[in-house]
Each structure stands twice: as C-alpha cells, then as structure tokens.
Symmetry: C2
C-alpha cells in the first residue's frame, strides 16, 4: 500500500461520525448481540474439525435466527438454506461472509440492497495480502460507505459474546465465560487461549480493520454495563486522532489495559502485512498510554494478571505494600520486585508489631517482609487461626495499602482454610488489594485447578504465580488510582 492510498483509506474510512452514544451502541451491538445472523458460505460438514459456524452457534446455545446461505445446499443442520443473501426472506441483523475473496464485494453489495447494516468478513487475502487484495478491500469500503453499513474485518474471527451465547468464530473455543471484560484485538489468538489468558468475556477481532476500528469497539465497551475492564490488543492504528479522543474519555470511566505488539521496526513491518495497519515508534506509544491513563501489559502473562487484578481486586490507594510470606527467601525476592515496580515497603506500625511480637519466638524480629513460619511454629493456636491473625494484623495496619501474600496451596488444608480467610479479609478491608501467590507447580500438578475452582466459587478468582507478577499488578492498581485522582 503506497502513502497515498494509506491516506485515502484513513480519510475515507470514517463512514459515520458518531454524534451521540446511542448511535455507537446501535452500530456495534449487532456484532455482539444479533437477533439474527445469515451465514454466507455455510456448509453441512459437522464435528470439531469441520469448522462449521452454524454448528458452533447451536453448541453455544445461541437463540437468535440462524440462516444458512449457499447455493449448494437445500438445508443445513435442519435450517432452510438460501442460494443467496438476496433471497433470504427473514430480517438479517448480521451477515457473516465466508468464501473466496473475489466474491466478497458482490455479496457486500447484496447485503446493502437487502438493508443489512452489519457485516463480518471472515476470509483473509485482502489488505493483508497482495495488490489485488488491497483493491478488493478498497472496493468493499466504498460499497459500505455508500450503503451506510458497518463492516468488521476482513481477515477476522469476528466477535464473541458469552453473555449472549454468541460467536462468529469458525473454531470452537475451549470455554467462553462471562468475565466482565471487553477485548478489542487484531488477532484471532484471543479467541483461543494464550498462556494464562483465556477468552476474556466479550471479544471483537478487528482483523484488517477496514471500517469498524479499535475506537468504535472501545467506545461501545465503555458504555456496556457487562464490561468492567476494557482490553486492547494493538498492532497498529489507522485513525490515531479518534483513538485519542475516545481513550481520553474511556480511561476515566473504566480501566483500559493495552497489549501493544509490533514494537520494533521489523515486527511493525510484519504487522502492516498482517492486517494492513500502521504502527509507530514504541516510545511514542508508551508515552501515549501513560498520558491517557491506560495500563500497558508487557507480555501475555502480564495481560492476564492485570485483567484479573482490575476485575477482582480493589484499586490501591497508595504504594505501601505489606509482604507476608511463608519463606524468608521469597520476601527478599519481593523486595527486589517492589524496587522494580516503584512500590514502597510499608513500615509496620507499633500496634501491629506489638500484636505480632506476642505470637513470636523471643529472638524473632517483626519486620516487613514478614516470614510467618516462626510464628506458625511457636503459637499454640491452630495453624489456620494463627495465619488469619498474622495476615489480618498486617492488612489492617493503617500504614499498609495492600499486601502480597506467599502461602502455598497447602494452606487451604488448615482450618480455617486460606481461601476462606482471604475472602473474609477482603470483605473486612475492601479498599486494600490482597495479591495471593499459592505457590504450586501447575506444570506437574492439577491441584491448582481445584484451588482456582474454589476461589472462583467464592468470588475471588485472583492468584499470582511469583513476586514479580503480583507486585507488578499491585503497582498497576496504585498507578490507575493515581491517574483517577489526578484527572478529577
């Protein structure tokens, strides 16, 4: 794509300037909550490896009207199949277009004629490919612009919404969960699971982003009451001014977490090939994210941790961390991480020290980080009660804004179990985040799975795996609180 066509794409791309909130809701909602969907290029093969969107929708329990379109079939999975979109008699809220790229502009034209307002183009081979692909994509944009319709893609998995049992994905997701998270991404990988990252609540894959773009969907998610945290995966952005405009408002209302890939000259070039979008220098992005109060995730695991923290932990009102561990060695690693993420190691108050001293062997000095083990082995109480008392004292100290806690999954077998204790403490101190690291080896042990399930059932599905991750998350919670304070 040459400079000129880039500029033209950028200018022509903005089909509609949204004047009020109702219009963005009206325009984006059909991609996530369509009352009906026409699947152009549907087929009748079934099974996990058939990638049959209609079967997938049935499996999800989607209750809207599903209309197959393909001249080769009379019916698909019990539904009457129409030879073309023009011949569908029903009202169509969303059209999902599959099939060879050369056919797509014609089908989009038919969608316009039928009065369909929202179209997903799944296939690749457009601005992500060659000159012919770019020509076809421009043709699609022109048709959409003239027809006043919104296009998601091309080169996209589309959208997914567990709150509506809906997805346009051709691949069956492992699990869709009603997490209070809205994800805008430029890759279908978010519809699978990356590292510790599962599909996060509602998701929209922008693909080549020929029309519907990051700002549209971000604006929608900020207004969506199901969404508490907005996640952006950015490779590049076409309309940066609009992104700034929307981001400026969004971050004051909801936390926005960003994973920016295509950070170097080489990968930026590849990102342009991948989805035809532009990238900029990484330092510029970094400054932009900071200025607008966005939280930048450095890695996929980081993203997962931050999403969990912002969904389920309170913001941190200051930077003073209490470090409670069942190992002196971990305490030292936590100090390293505090320094790295610019957190303060809290000075425990006289009252706290007195209470903890009474539980300790004489030679033991109460300090932060606090190794609980000498106290656990000294006091005559049951382990669970001693543990609860120690953590409660540190968390309740007025000089502590949040804690990081290293105590193994084993602590769930003491009485009261650690999960119960932490859920209770979280309720007692609702303004202080507790970052728990139940150190177990997920790789060789499925005990972790059981713990997660217990925690989730108690409404506290947040754990971290090491000092770095937990303290980075606490630092992000503190920084976002500072941003909100500063922007009042």
């Amino acid at each position: 794509m040459d400079k000129k066509s880039e500029r033209i794409l950028s200018e022509e791309n903005r089909l509609i300037e949204f004047k009020d909130q109702s219009s963005i809701i009206d325009q984006i909602r059909p991609f996530l909550e369509p009352a009906s969907i026409a699947v152009v290029g549907a087929h009748a093969n079934t099974g996990e490896q058939a990638f049959n969107v209609i079967e997938h929708l049935m499996w999800l329990g989607y209750t809207g009207n599903v209309i197959p379109v393909n001249p080769e079939y009379e019916e698909i999975l019990g539904r009457k199949c129409y030879p073309s979109i023009s011949e569908v008699p029903d009202k169509v809220d969303l059209a999902l277009l599959q099939g060879p790229r050369s056919t797509i502009p014609g089908v989009v034209q038919q969608c316009v004629q039928k009065g369909i307002k929202s179209v997903v183009i799944a296939g690749a081979g457009f601005a992500d490919a060659d000159d012919e692909g770019r020509r076809l994509q421009n043709e699609i944009v022109n048709i959409a612009r003239r027809g006043g319709i919104r296009v998601l893609g091309p080169n996209t998995i589309g959208s997914a919404n567990p709150f509506f049992n809906f997805s346009t994905s051709f691949a069956r997701q492992t699990e869709m969960k009603k997490w209070p998270v809205g994800v805008v991404c430029q890759s279908g990988m978010f519809f699978g699971t990356i590292g510790r990252l599962n599909l996060l609540g509602k998701g929209v894959d922008l693909g080549n982003s020929c029309d519907v773009d990051i700002s549209d969907v971000m604006e929608y998610f900020v207004l969506d009451p199901d969404v508490k945290v907005v996640v952006l995966h950015i490779e590049g952005v076409i309309d940066c001014n609009r992104l700034k405009q929307i981001a400026g408002k969004a971050c004051r209302k909801k936390p926005v977490i960003v994973l920016k890939t295509g950070r170097t000259a080489e990968s930026g070039k590849a990102a342009k090939t991948h989805t035809g979008s532009l990238v900029g220098r990484d330092e510029v992005w970094d400054a932009f994210f900071r200025q607008y109060g966005m939280t930048r995730a450095e890695t996929f695991d980081d993203l997962s941790d931050l999403v969990n923290a912002f969904c389920y932990l309170p913001l941190m009102s200051g930077r003073r961390v209490g470090i409670v561990t069942a190992s002196g060695g971990i305490g030292i690693a936590c100090l390293d991480a505090c320094k790295k993420y610019n957190l303060e190691v809290a000075e425990l108050g006289v009252h706290t020290k007195r209470k903890l001293n009474a539980m300790s062997p004489s030679w033991f000095e109460i300090a932060n980080p606090l190794d609980i083990w000498p106290m656990m082995l000294t006091t005559k109480q049951p382990y669970g009660e001693t543990f609860r008392d120690i953590v409660g004292e540190v968390l309740g100290d007025p000089g502590v804004d949040g804690i990081v806690l290293f105590a193994g999954a084993w602590f769930d077998r003491i009485n009261p179990p650690i999960t119960r204790t932490l859920v209770d403490l979280a309720k007692t101190y609702p303004g202080k985040p507790i970052a728990w690291c139940p150190y177990y080896g997920w790789l060789y042990d499925n005990q972790s799975y059981e713990i997660e399930q217990t925690l989730m059932s108690m409404g506290m599905p947040v754990v971290f795996s090491n000092p770095e991750d937990s303290l980075r998350a606490l630092a992000a919670l503190a920084r976002y609180q500072e941003f909100l304070n500063d922007s009042q």
Copy 2:
C-alpha cells in the same frame, strides 16, 4: 555482625580444602543419600500438620535406618527412641537436629564424639536473628571445625533426593520427581513449588550456610551422574573466590542456571538478615554470571522455563529462529521477542518456500513468521498431516537453528496429534530445539494437565506459555552453546 567477625567467619568457615573429587563426594553425599539418619528432637504426633520428619520419611519410602532421639519418648512410629544422640548404638550417617537453639551446640559436640560426620541444623534463630544467635552459630562452627564434621544450616529445610526417597523436610512436599536437576538454594521455598517451579530433582537448602556452602554442593552436583542441570539460588555468598573456582569448571561440564535475589540495597540488607550472608552489587553479579557461562534467570517463571529447556531440549547451534504460528498476531509478538533476546529471524530457503507455496492459496506469501492457518484451510490433506508437513519443512530448513511453535492444545485432537508429530520431529532433527506454546488457559481449564502428562510420557515435558518465555529460552540455549564453543 561487624566487619571483623564477618572476616573471621569467612576465613574460619572453610574447614577442609578439598584436594580431590572423591572427598567432596564423600562429604556431601550423606546429606542426600544417608544410609541412616538420627532425628534429634523427634516427636510422635502424626498427620500432615504435625510436621513429623520420621513420618515424612516413611511416606517417601526411605529404606535407610531412621533413629528417633528424644528423652520424652520410648518409641516413635514403631522405632526405639533414644534419650540422647550419645546413647544411640547404631552407626549414624546423618544427624538432623531440631529443638531450641541454646541446646544445639551441645548436641553438635555429642555428634562429634559419636563420630557422626554430617549434621543438618534445621532451626532458625542463629546468624539470621540476634547477637546471641550469631554467638551460638560461631560456637557451632568452632565445634564442627575441631571435630572435622560438615554442618548444613542452621535455618534450613535441609536436603531432598527423590532418587533416594529421602528428605529432611519437616513439610511434606507435593511431589518429588526424579528430574535430572540439582538445586542449591538459600530458601525452603524451593522445597514447595513456586509458580511453575516444582521441587527440581535433588535439592539442598543452605540456610545460613555456616559450613556447607554453595560451592560445595555445586561441585557435588557437577560430579553427580543423576544431575544434568545445576540450579543455584543465590542471595549472597561468603566465599566468592571458591565460587569462582568451582564455577569456572562447572559450567564447562553442565549448564548452571542462577536465580539471584537480594538485587537491591534494601533487599540485600534483608538477605543478610535472612541467612547472614553477604551480597554485592547486582551489575557485578551479572558480569560474573556471563563471564563464567552461567545462565541467569530473571524471575521464578523464567527459572522454571530455563530448567525445562536445558533438561529436555537440545542446545541451539545458532541464533536463527523459525516462527510457526496458528495466528498472524502471535507471529508479530514473536518478532518483538526475537529482537528483545537478540535472536535472528531465519530467512527460509528457496526449497522450503517452494514446498510450502505448493500448499498455500495463491495470494499467500510464504515468510517467517509463518501463519499456518491459510495452508491448513487450503490443502486437501487431513489437518494433522498438513501440520506435520509445514512444521517439518521449516524445521528441516538448513537456515533454521530452532523453532518456536504456536499451535493450541486443540492440535492434539487432529491426526496425527501434535504431541506425536513433535516427538517425531525432535528425533529427526536432534540438534534443533522446538519450543512449543500450546496456548491454553491453565487458570480455568485442566486440559493443560492432560497435555503435560501425555508429553511427559513421551519424554518431552517442555512447553512454554507465550512468545517472551519461549524465545528467551531459545536464546539461553544458543548462548550456552556459544559459551561452550568459546571455551574449547
């Protein structure tokens, strides 16, 4: 501890200068493979929360002679209990000392008189605590020195050896596995599991390191045929010259991976309190690790990844990486990570491109990173065969030294399944590491556990969770190969 006593400790500490390899083996082996163990301060409470070492040893299946010592009992768990170590008639290979700190020097003296050569002091409250504790520790060192015995600790969990069904740990470990890894650490946390890190094969916790130190155990592990990879957790080291001397030999024989905590001034001070050892500036440590060919892990997760990589993947003979993904977006994140870890993005050869082109849609350009999805959806072969052909072509390219592969756990359900394909390819190209990221969300899904089990049963228990982790591991494999080449 003042400057003078530090110096004295450092000089007096070295009880014996090892003249040959047999002596270090003789001196350290009893800590890991004792024919008999006397447990001083044993008790008769049982159950997981009783922290009964003897019960733990029975549970592990330890077949050596276990001798309880405690004046309060006649017998413990069916074993005759002696009032003091002096009255034990049997030969004692290793004595584990529990109980109040003031009693310990006297018991060490009794051990010397009985001719016991190896003693573990579990309890805390010595150089890790106050002046009295430091005095007691110095007394112990003096007794040990005069008596010609080796002391591990104080303030230590002791040792663990799954190859011998042995552990001195008072806490029952989740799992001990015969991983080919020897861990020397300054924290009991390694005997639990941290993040993705399980107890790694044989382990020795140095505690306060009053006698047996990091160099002793490292030297032993380098000579131990069960150990393929040596792991060091360092907070601080007393005898740096000896560490240099041993490290200089060790790294040419086996990969040594280091996690250094106590990196900052604050945490270094805490590390000194924790185990009484000295720390130095982090940049100095960094230069030292590089010079001696040690691989530095930055975080606990990093340590886990590196240990797995060095245990089960071949070293990488160059820095040219092939990137094969089921998502264009992940490919871009991999390019970012290649840049970060100084790896080269391989240029695919003409032959490889020709083969892959034949499988692709016409508009698709074969490049590295390679998104497999357009090929998977185009060729008429079963998915598993196409996948195998694609990965085989890239891995077989002479311009590729190793690959990173992003393909979901789902790919284990195609035929042949991904695990089978990768195990076969690893055999075909034994000099090229394959870093597989089966992106699944471990947090909410125990499918990962099943995949791990399958992989382990096939002898390839290595997976990574994201682009950063996998490429950092490949970079470490390449760097260690470079070190070996340079030091020939």
